[in-house]
Symmetry: C2
Subunit: 448 residues, 2 copies
């Protein structure tokens, strides 16, 4: 059973406030590293600074592995420079590379010089943060294809691999090229004298070091793998990226999409310092304001029409709002389908056709309802016709934008989610007003 979430943090905090660091330590040591990391992340900096230097190095290394991006950065900054090198020697190479990326370049270089694992970690440092190489670890077990099962097992016993994921053992040739894969299970159940080359699965699915981390996550999920080998341009095995890193990727990407679509930055969080959230949010609202200004100009152009038939002002927001909601439904569907790889940009026209049919049918139903309501309420059949027709047109335009805006962003190699919700709403507003008030202006004699 899991530990309760809030309790340990409160207790550790109480010990620290009372100045009882040993009490805090002994309480902390009973926890799983993941829970220790949560406690550390949640402490106030002044309390944490008192605790960190007292933690055994092994505990600190475990905690560092489980800390998320932001708290990890804080902890690293609060540590003394001298402890960093031996500490980073104990964590997974990908975590070490991540920490070195956080440091100022000169300090990173100094720490690296003092590290035992510098060769492996240096290899990781040159890769883009969001590439497969940026997410891989150099802690993997590689067996040579000419070894026997017995030799391989002896090798495993001798090196005592600390790697979390020694489940897949990759098989390489003399040039370090990836040749196959053997699961630990296969090794255990095989006869000791068999050759690795004979029990390995020769076709290994791998990813190039420079490909996107999302692609790595997609492959992992598609094939139900827990780890994926990463190779360089000469098919040499350079690292392994694993499901625990990439499970976060899928979730982060989903969050990013959701936030971007409504004009929040991906770093937004209810826990983020207020002043950091203020400007990014304001800027998208200002973008909307500019767009809304054009919508207002549209309305303004028809001021005399509204003056003649004030009932138009009553139905106007309803029609535009319906268009906006229909458009946001479509755009959400298209953005998510693109993200999940359920649809490719070249299928945009097929999706557009589908969405337009739905929009047309829904538009007709709702247009009819609005039309009838307008007729009954304001006792003018033409107001009903104008409102109904404008609804159909407005929903149709919104849905078209909902398919085309994210598809165009993807084709331009931008993120389809890039605040497309706000763009589509703004676009729909302008067109909706134009359709409704324009039709009204055309038929003004029938409306008065």
């Amino acid at each position: 059973m899991r530990e309760e979430k809030q309790q340990p943090m409160e207790q550790v905090r109480e010990f620290l406030i009372a100045g009882d660091v040993p009490g805090a330590l002994s309480h902390l040591e009973r926890l799983h590293p993941a829970d220790q990391a949560e406690v550390i992340a949640g402490l106030e900096p002044e309390l944490r600074v008192a605790l960190l230097p007292q933690l055994p190095r092994e505990t600190l290394a475990d905690i560092l592995e489980y800390l998320k991006e932001e708290p990890r950065r804080h902890v690293v900054m609060e540590l003394e420079a001298a402890v960093l090198a031996p500490l980073l020697d104990r964590v997974d190479t990908d975590v070490a590379a991540d920490v070195l990326h956080m440091l100022p370049p000169e300090q990173a270089e100094q720490v690296l010089l003092a590290m035992r694992t510098a060769p492996e970690v240096t290899g990781l440092l040159r890769h883009e943060d969001e590439s497969a190489g940026g997410r891989m670890s150099a802690d993997f077990v590689a067996l040579h294809k000419e070894w026997t099962v017995d030799q391989a097992l002896a090798y495993l016993r001798r090196t005592h691999p600390d790697a979390e994921l020694a489940y897949y053992l990759y098989v390489i040739d003399a040039e370090h090229r990836l040749e196959g894969v053997v699961s630990l299970r296969q090794l255990v159940v095989a006869a000791p004298e068999e050759h690795i080359a004979d029990i390995m699965t020769p076709e290994v699915i791998s990813i190039r070091v420079d490909e996107d981390q999302e692609e790595a996550a997609r492959i992992l999920q598609r094939y139900n793998f827990v780890a994926l080998p990463v190779v360089d341009e000469k098919s040499r095995l350079v690292g392994v990226t694993s499901v625990d890193d990439l499970m976060d990727v899928a979730q982060e990407e989903a969050t990013e999409d959701m936030y971007r679509m409504v004009g929040l930055t991906e770093e937004e969080s209810v826990l983020r310092p207020l002043r950091q959230s203020l400007l990014p949010r304001l800027s998208w609202l200002l973008f909307y304001l500019v767009a809304a200004f054009f919508a207002a100009l549209t309305v303004n152009a028809f001021e005399s029409t509204i003056e003649e038939v004030v009932a138009l002002a009553v139905f106007m927001p309803m029609i535009v709002g319906l268009g906006g909601n229909a458009g946001v439904q479509t755009i959400t569907l298209v953005v998510r389908s693109l993200a999940l790889g359920q649809v490719e940009p070249r299928q945009a026209l097929r999706v557009l056709r589908r969405e337009l049919v739905i929009a047309a049918l829904n538009g007709v139903v709702i247009g009819l309802l609005i039309g009838v309501a307008a007729f009954l309420w304001k006792d003018n059949v033409w107001l009903g016709v104008v409102a109904g027709l404008a609804t159909v047109l407005s929903v149709g335009a919104a849905v078209t934008a909902g398919v085309l805006v994210p598809t165009a962003l993807r084709l331009a190699r931008l993120d389809p989610a890039l605040a497309s919700g706000i763009i589509v709403t703004a676009f729909t507003d302008i067109l909706g007003f134009f359709f409704f008030l324009g039709l009204a202006a055309l038929l003004i004699e029938r409306l008065t």
Copy 2:
């Protein structure tokens, strides 16, 4: 390197259209089961029906494992009843249980009677679909704590466990209670004569069979596990749920949240048959229509005010739209934070305070801009005051709804994402109009 995605499907289809089933088969057999599953899922039913009976049983079993929910259902319905029992004996027990759930009850019972693995699968059948029990598999390896490492290895060699996830070996006592865990790696590197009880990690994090699958996914992610043992109310080990099942859960939940927030059902997809999408989407738009009707009533109540100052109709949509966008930003943030467990409902007031400060500051900036624009454009300082003030109030109300609606839904044990976007937009519309037009009506003498 991966296979190209579209090619194999087209080629298999061409063979089948030409009536060359053996050609299709031999082409299919070169693919990874995950890719075979994709080909099978993408084929037209009439082509698939020609292919399915010809597939070797082992291949079909592999394909069944990799098929997603919907295509899996189709394939199962297209298979002859007689092949089902031997087929389900070959797939993972959780897949077998899933398939049996798809069949009509009488047929499921008949198939189950003919299955060799009926005892294990029956145990899985009684759990809720979205619980940890519903996602677990009965294919796991359990070692007895009094065994030696040598005995355990011999057991593994003898039973030749077919389970994908024999990486964690769970340790049980005589009553089948979960006592510890040993990784395959620990077993391999340990001395042969050691006892399992001595090398095992005694504290195992597990989940109760009746807990939610989301909770299982959260634990797995928190502790970076690839599998999680599932226990019954007496702490007896009854199954294992693993990362490949639960990686889908996190992604499905994100998609569900995104869709629900804009009034799409979670089954929505660009590939879904049109007639199935029509009604669910229409119903949310109708909900919005009803709400918009109340907004229209609000505007209608101020018809005489608008008649006197038509410029109000120009600024009205802008103010309401800004409120809507600000509200949707907040609601997206709150829904996602609740889903990721970054915030608890009882912290709602703190989040509300934060959002209100942001809203107030942003509202003041934007209100000032709108106010100045209104003054410059329509040459009336009071129009500026009304517009600016209404913007601040409208954004504030929207943000308040954006925090409180999802929190209230969560407290009522409903999904916070339940179309809250549409609810908030509708609510914001009504209040926005009321603030703006109400203020205008109060100050009508200054505006004319």
